[in-house]
């Protein structure tokens, strides 16, 4: 067992965890933050993406003990305190960037990480960045569109497809 203390969405938390407890299980089971999803067992789908000290990581491929002292942000921390959607979340809604919504938390966390480093990405840069995020529903097109829109760029060129 290990004693850990970390910040999650701006709040400090301490807990005792087993060595083998994955960060995603600690977030979902320990803290009830079930917005972070688990879509695979092989580290390939990206549904579980969260930010750890500002870097996007797969919460299913990191142990909770490794997050000791870290600042973690999950999808629950993306909207404002009053529930107002973030720019990225609003763009997903406006541009129909989700269908079932299962991949969406991971997509939004990836998009936020991309836009932090590259505020005006090209379509190709967005597609490359989302290589580790699998969506079974949308065909990706509207996700790309939503992220372009969230970065304040014109999406009319993409609209035709």
């Amino acid at each position: 067992m290990a004693q850990i203390s970390l910040m999650v969405n701006g709040k400090s938390t301490s807990a005792e965890v087993e060595g083998r407890t994955l960060l995603v299980d600690f977030l979902r089971g320990g803290l009830g933050l079930t917005g972070t999803h688990v879509g695979c067992d092989t580290s390939q789908c990206g549904a579980c993406l969260v930010h750890v000290d500002g870097a996007v990581v797969k919460a299913c491929s990191m142990f909770a003990f490794e997050a000791d002292g870290a600042d973690v942000r999950t999808i629950e921390g993306m909207a404002g305190a009053d529930g107002a959607l973030s720019t990225i979340q609003q763009a997903f809604r406006d541009h129909h960037g989700l269908q079932c919504g299962f991949c969406t938390p991971g997509m939004v966390m990836a998009a936020a990480a991309l836009l932090k480093d590259t505020p005006k990405p090209t379509e190709a840069e967005i597609r490359h960045y989302l290589e580790g995020n699998i969506c079974r529903c949308t065909g990706y097109h509207n996700i790309i569109k939503a992220i372009l829109a969230a970065s304040g760029q014109d999406v009319s060129a993409l609209a035709a497809e």
Partner: protein, 263 residues
């Protein structure tokens, strides 16, 4: 996942001591190890986390001009911090997996694992890099010993890798689209003295190897045309659902030419 103890040393000496216990295993970025633990393919009694060891992290230039990268340095950091000194290597690191994998996965973890399709081994072999462990220095030529097999001893830790920096280089990977690993990947490098080196990943059953015929031709003339007439032998190439040995051998030629053109 089976249960295990954990250790979180903050220096290499303590990590080596923690690894001395039977069935103890190092944990770096976990991007290979954690999926294997989930699948119960690995059963360590203790995991020794290497992520809190500052002396294993970072990118710097040695006095002799070689680029030194700590074994615990993530792919994302190499992509960002090696860009100026060694663009070919930085671009390679930026093509590994996806952004989240690059934020956790490390150079040392990739080399210790020595997946036959991994991206770093051909860069290490083609540049003739040196692997510094907690106890010795290993030349790239002696380090890679076949698929998932290396010269590392039980509990030995890759602390740093020193890369001679070529004058021109490029890594081109023909990605297997589901795994994003290389179906065939080539690192081609030309050094200031004109010597060319070509190393291939993803293709051979023996793991990463140098394509010496191409090296000879490219040392004479560094141009894709210089190797247009060469074909890599299909014998000993990997045969799986993604490609036959003949297909992989064909790709080795095509990808090497692209790498030379891109360098």
């Amino acid at each position: 996942m089976y249960e295990f103890e954990i250790a979180t040393p903050t220096n290499i000496a303590d990590a080596v001591a923690a690894l001395a216990e039977e069935d103890a295993q190092a944990l770096a970025g976990g991007q290979t190890l954690i999926p294997s633990l989930k699948a119960r393919l690995a059963m360590p009694s203790r995991l020794v986390s290497l992520t809190r060891i500052p002396e294993m992290k970072g990118v710097c230039r040695a006095d002799d001009g070689r680029l030194c990268i700590g074994g615990g340095t993530t792919h994302a950091t190499v992509a960002a911090e090696a860009a100026e000194a060694f663009a070919g290597l930085a671009a390679l690191a930026g093509q590994i997996g996806d952004a989240a994998v690059r934020n956790r996965g490390t150079l040392g973890g990739s080399l210790a694992n020595n997946d036959p399709s991994a991206c770093y081994p051909p860069a290490v072999l083609a540049t003739g890099a040196t692997i510094l462990t907690d106890r010795r220095e290993i030349a790239a030529e002696d380090y890679f010993q076949g698929m998932f097999t290396t010269a590392l001893e039980e509990g030995e830790i890759i602390a740093e890798v020193r890369f001679p920096v070529p004058e021109a280089s490029a890594d081109v990977k023909f990605a297997q689209p589901a795994s994003r690993f290389a179906l065939v990947g080539v690192f081609a490098a030309r050094f200031a003295d004109g010597a060319a080196r070509v190393a291939v990943t993803g293709a051979s059953e023996g793991g990463v190897y140098r394509w010496r015929e191409a090296e000879e031709a490219l040392s004479e003339t560094w141009s894709p045309d210089a190797i247009a007439g060469l074909s890599a032998p299909a014998e000993g190439m990997i045969d799986d659902a993604h490609g036959s040995p003949a297909y992989r051998a064909h790709l080795v030629g095509v990808i090497t030419r692209r790498a030379v053109a891109a360098a």
